[in-house]
């Protein structure tokens, strides 16, 4: 059935097939806007201060923020299905402590890397079941989970840092083929997830669930099971993000950057994922993470006081959102 619909749509569009760029823009509008913003920003800041594109600074921009991009991939999937997760920041904090403790306690390194992924999947399976089967709105479940995870983390660690991590454990500081591992993780995971969401039946069904749940159910998509599955996948990405986050320094702090969950959600949304569900790609969320990181670094290079950083980022987020809404209205 889908194929005939697609075929008619295609045959109809044949007579006046819009140009490549027009099609690209229609389908990936927000991604193109974000990418353009990154390019412009790089050009302008490099003119002001050429050291901006030094290898050192590029590593800081890309590697230091890769874990946010990886977490945003899972978040993008969750939001595409019309759900949300405000607990991911606290989850990453908990997983980092688990992973680091295992590494210090002398467990095999591979196990210390695998554990956060498995625990992340297990925690999010519980969240997914509460959302899909107990029918509690995802914002409520994850708000509760946020409290539980954050409280649990502090009461278990007592705020102490994990030190003496084995050197082999610190994968985020290593290189593959001359490229920093976090960068490789970010690019490979983004591409895999993007292909999976675009070209597999499972991936497409996420858009169907977010776009119109009733219609999705009518076409035979098992919504409840898919919702649990998407939360579990999101948990796996949170685990992978944790590996990058926990191994970037010589110590693991018992706290994550404040409002990490909001940063991750913002990355997904600015990248073009509609908060109402049903549209958006993980390429957009990764580009948006890079944009934030670039802005942060650029402000330092053009000597803007660090205290104004958040205000400028907030303003840019707002401008991007407003531009997106105006663009959508112009099209619709």
């Amino acid at each position: 059935m889908t194929t005939t619909v697609e075929a008619t749509a295609r045959s109809r569009s044949v007579p006046a097939r819009p140009g490549f760029f027009k099609r690209l823009f229609a389908e990936y509008g927000q991604e193109v806007v974000v990418l353009a913003a990154i390019v412009v920003l790089f050009a302008v800041v490099t003119m002001v201060n050429p050291r901006f594109i030094s290898a050192n600074n590029l590593t800081t921009i890309f590697s230091g923020n890769a874990y946010i991009a990886v977490a945003a991939i899972g978040m993008a999937m969750v939001i595409v299905t019309g759900n949300i997760d405000v607990s991911v920041g606290a989850l990453i904090g908990v997983l980092a402590t688990i992973s680091g403790s295992l590494a210090v306690a002398g467990y095999p390194i591979w196990f210390a890397w695998l554990a956060p992924v498995l625990v992340g999947m297990a925690v999010n399976a519980v969240i997914g079941v509460l959302v899909a089967y107990a029918r509690i709105p995802s914002i409520v479940v994850t708000l509760g989970a946020l409290s539980i995870l954050r409280g649990g983390l502090i009461s278990v660690t007592g705020g102490t840092w994990i030190t003496d991590l084995p050197p082999d454990y610190l994968i985020a500081q290593k290189q593959i083929l001359g490229l920093p591992v976090p960068l490789v993780f970010m690019v490979v995971l983004t591409l895999l997830a993007a292909f999976w969401m675009r070209y597999t039946a499972f991936g497409r069904s996420l858009y169907a669930i977010g776009g119109n749940a009733e219609a999705a159910l009518a076409t035979g998509i098992p919504i409840a099971r898919r919702t649990v599955a998407v939360f579990v996948i999101h948990g796996a990405f949170a685990g992978l993000a944790t590996i990058l986050f926990a191994t970037q320094l010589q110590v693991i702090q018992s706290t994550v950057p404040p409002n990490l969950e909001l940063t991750v959600i913002t990355a997904a949304v600015i990248g073009g994922v509609s908060i109402l569900g049903g549209s958006g790609t993980v390429i957009g969320s990764t580009l948006a993470t890079i944009l934030f990181a670039t802005i942060g670094s650029a402000l330092i290079f053009v000597n803007v006081s660090a205290y104004w950083l958040r205000a400028v980022i907030g303003l840019l987020i707002l401008a991007t959102v407003l531009a997106d809404m105006l663009r959508r209205r112009g099209r619709g």
Binding site: L130, R135, V141, L143, R310
Partner: protein, 315 residues
């Protein structure tokens, strides 16, 4: 049926509160004393004011994540207007409250004029307003307020903490508005079915604009009370308070999808959270354990209420 399920949730919650109070009073002699309870009321006023406004916002199917940042911005501006600009403190506080209210108004404009979903709009302004607070303060705190200013946050009127009167008044006025006025009914109508409300000739946009402005105003008032209570201003004040307020509102039975909820429910939810926080800390459990418990209570309360409601609808 809607009204019935509403009463059911609040009754359930009130019973839970009573049970919690009884259990906690056995845990510590100091818990169920007038002094302690009044002091706890003092501590919950800021979240309470924000949560009351948030009840309206969530009842329309919206959300306001920027309240914590508006609180921080207003607090910083109160200090800066007074100490750096040199305005008299009442004028400085009023001006700061005006800015906080305007910040809420800006949220409303972004949401109603540009049709940005509330979650995204207030997520963006959360970063923006907090950023402005940080930029303006440059990490300096303001201290040394005159003695009379502490009346608001640290002293009593007729034996009851000053700010508790404000919270009480706000709660009464807000519940009357939400339950008994046409405008209050409009809030529910918008939350149940926005399109239908628009077709029925209700001024949906104006209602929402007014609510987000009111939410900013509530956060701004909370900011001044906060400053008066802790005698200092810092740019990180109110961080995360939005989640506390939303927890109280949702625990109080307001549907996150809109169309349902009461101010009374929110206040009970608020008391339950505060009682747990205080009672457990008196019983020797650390604050972090309490945070965990509140998260669990939130999920379990909604779960229980969902189960009751479903069995109620089916019979």
């Amino acid at each position: 049926m809607n009204l019935k399920s509403l009463i059911r949730h609040e009754t359930f919650l009130a019973l839970l509160l009573v049970v919690v109070l009884i259990v906690l009073s056995f845990q510590s002699d100091r818990f169920l004393t007038v002094d302690n309870l009044l002091n706890q009321g003092r501590l919950m006023t800021e979240i309470g004011l924000i949560a009351i406004a948030m009840t309206f916002v969530i009842a329309t199917g919206g959300i306001d994540l920027s309240v914590g940042s508006i609180l921080g911005l207003t607090a910083i501006l109160t200090g800066v207007f007074w100490q750096n600009v040199g305005l008299p403190l009442p004028v400085a506080a009023t001006a700061a409250i005006a800015v906080g209210t305007f910040a809420g108004f800006v949220n409303g404009v972004i949401i109603t004029r540009f049709r940005v979903p509330p979650l995204i709009a207030t997520l963006a302004t959360l970063a923006l307003y907090r950023g402005l607070a940080e930029g303006i303060s440059q990490a300096r705190s303001v201290r040394g307020y005159p003695e009379w200013f502490y009346v608001l946050g640290q002293q009593d009127v007729l034996g009851v903490p000053t700010q508790l009167w404000i919270l009480f008044l706000a709660a009464v006025v807000a519940s009357v508005i939400l339950a008994y006025t046409t405008w209050g009914r409009t809030v529910y109508a918008v939350g149940s079915n926005e399109v239908a409300s628009r077709f029925s000739g209700l001024s949906v946009e104006k209602t929402k604009l007014a609510l987000y402005t009111a939410s900013g105003f509530a956060a701004a008032i909370a900011a001044v009370i906060f400053v008066s209570r802790v005698s200092t201003t810092r740019s990180d004040m109110g961080t995360g308070i939005e989640l506390d307020a939303i927890t109280a509102v949702v625990l109080g039975g307001t549907s996150i999808f809109g169309g349902r909820g009461t101010v009374v429910g929110t206040i009970i939810g608020l008391c339950l959270i505060q009682a747990l926080k205080n009672g457990l800390s008196l019983a020797g459990i650390k604050g972090d354990g309490t945070i965990m418990l509140i998260g669990a209570v939130l999920i379990l309360a909604i779960l229980a209420s969902n189960l009751f409601e479903r069995s109620g609808t089916r019979t």
